[in-house]
Symmetry: C2
Subunit: 348 residues, 2 copies
Amino acid sequence: MLGEKAKTIIAIDCMGGDLGEHEVLKGITKAYTKNKSLFFLIHGVGSKMPSLLKKQKRLTGAFRYIPAQQTVSMDEKPSQALRTGRETSMWCALESVAKGEAKVAVSCGNTGALMAMSMVQLRKIDGVNRPAIAVLWPSTNARGFNIVLDAGADIKADAQDLHQYALMGISYAKSGFNIKKPRVGLLNVGTEGHKGRSELQKAADIILESSKIFEFEYAGYVEGDDIPSSKIDVIVTDGFTGNIALKTGEGTATLVRTLLKETFAFSVMARLASFLALKPLRALRKRIDPRRVNGGVFLGLNGTIVKSHGSADATGISAAITLAYKLAQNDFQKNLANKILYKKKIPN
Amino acid sequence: MLGEKAKTIIAIDCMGGDLGEHEVLKGITKAYTKNKSLFFLIHGVGSKMPSLLKKQKRLTGAFRYIPAQQTVSMDEKPSQALRTGRETSMWCALESVAKGEAKVAVSCGNTGALMAMSMVQLRKIDGVNRPAIAVLWPSTNARGFNIVLDAGADIKADAQDLHQYALMGISYAKSGFNIKKPRVGLLNVGTEGHKGRSELQKAADIILESSKIFEFEYAGYVEGDDIPSSKIDVIVTDGFTGNIALKTGEGTATLVRTLLKETFAFSVMARLASFLALKPLRALRKRIDPRRVNGGVFLGLNGTIVKSHGSADATGISAAITLAYKLAQNDFQKNLANKILYKKKIPN
């Protein structure tokens, strides 16, 4: 077994997930089973935690438990969480990153509170105006997903913010997934130059200029139906539009899954059919399973934070931890900061 | 056969669809075959039209052909189409409605140009600030879809515009689909009161007040994944967000359909399975087929215009015509105008 120091240390906020801390612990064990070079700083609340931890036998020796006093609730306003949340598991998990004890923090708690606390504890990278949340979205690309940001860190973004999102998305694509020359598109209501709001037209000009300096391809405006396509790697939008688009996509996928299930329960023949097609149907389910691309990454801060979906189960939490590990390995944080710093030198 | 006068007359702009005027004519024939009380004013361009029309033998006696000089191209700016488009089939089809010769017009041409021309020819209903496009979206509701507006008539909307959209959506739900007390939700990035942009918070207050006067239920904020749900009938948003959300949903459904197809081509077993489950799979395909809920309705004008999807085939065009017929039958236009007029009397 590797010592704690040789391992990649990840801080986990166990509280706030819809399925409870037990499910989060199962997710941690799942991730650890696949990757023994992980070590966890587990932040939790309540008298049940020690016994729950004991049940995860395969996790023995791979974690340190750090008890906290409170949990951030899902409906807490970010401002309130900031004022009163210094004793929460969320705050303490972020502190582990701020103090350099952990490389990345993972939480499935309240997104707004997590972003607010992250901004206070890690501070924005010099030159960044608004941090963003980048998510992975199933696509027909060979790698199986595209990067979309901002997925909801902020409800507005001007042209310069959108340009910063583009640069952050490019860094993420390069460091996280080894995409050499990411293709970046700006989400709009049409692909023609005159379409959309004025800040988009201004952002398009800036991003095009920027593509002459940084290694990426500006693919112009893209529309909602391009998000799952293979013609693009990074999709840039403001957090209001991004959040609603992604949730609409999620809702649609869920609708189709529900109807598909009903379809195969329709008759004896259909049930027999679903038995015959078990293997490919399972592969399909895996392909469109949002749990497997779980993990929104906070970009633009001095530290990497992965926000797992609130409803994530063990599989989803394990995926978020695996993503956190990948980013920790690839010096993602340093590359991003360098880019933003360099960007400040060029006209914006 | 009914005489032209006893029929419901619908003006059709045959030009601008991705699949050409022949497909539009096939769609007209399809709609007519199902409903013999329709009569069409067919607006087309080019020397081929008369012979194409002759081929639609089942349509004999159910239409009048009105040749035009030009076609509005798909990439034409609305302002340009307005300046130079008075000889187009689109303009002439709208003129049929403006002059009272047709009850509704259907076009699958350039949306922006169609809206701009509609506003000039039909003018906005007294009291309406921004017209909107309402679309039907597949949902788990018993009727199989929800109403979403604005789907892209305008790229912005303030609180009062959103309130008008709510009223227009309610009228559409009542007249178009006999929903007695529609449940109306405001699209936002969260359901808590403090979430989202300030115009949404103001709109929420106005719509809640309005629900005390008009017969509908204000269901509060809804999120993207509620669009296909059964907890809501009408979803209100600005045209930028609405357009992107809907296209993202469409893209997701297309992705799943593509993957599903691949799944059943995977092996001999899977192909056998898809044969066994042919009937339920067909039912599923029908259920999530965007062609069957084709037709964006322009709301807020003195006349009803149905915008068919540019890529619609005969099935899609037939669905749009059927929708146009339903609205013509139910005095939709009059009900909507009454509501907006009444609304002006209450504080907004």
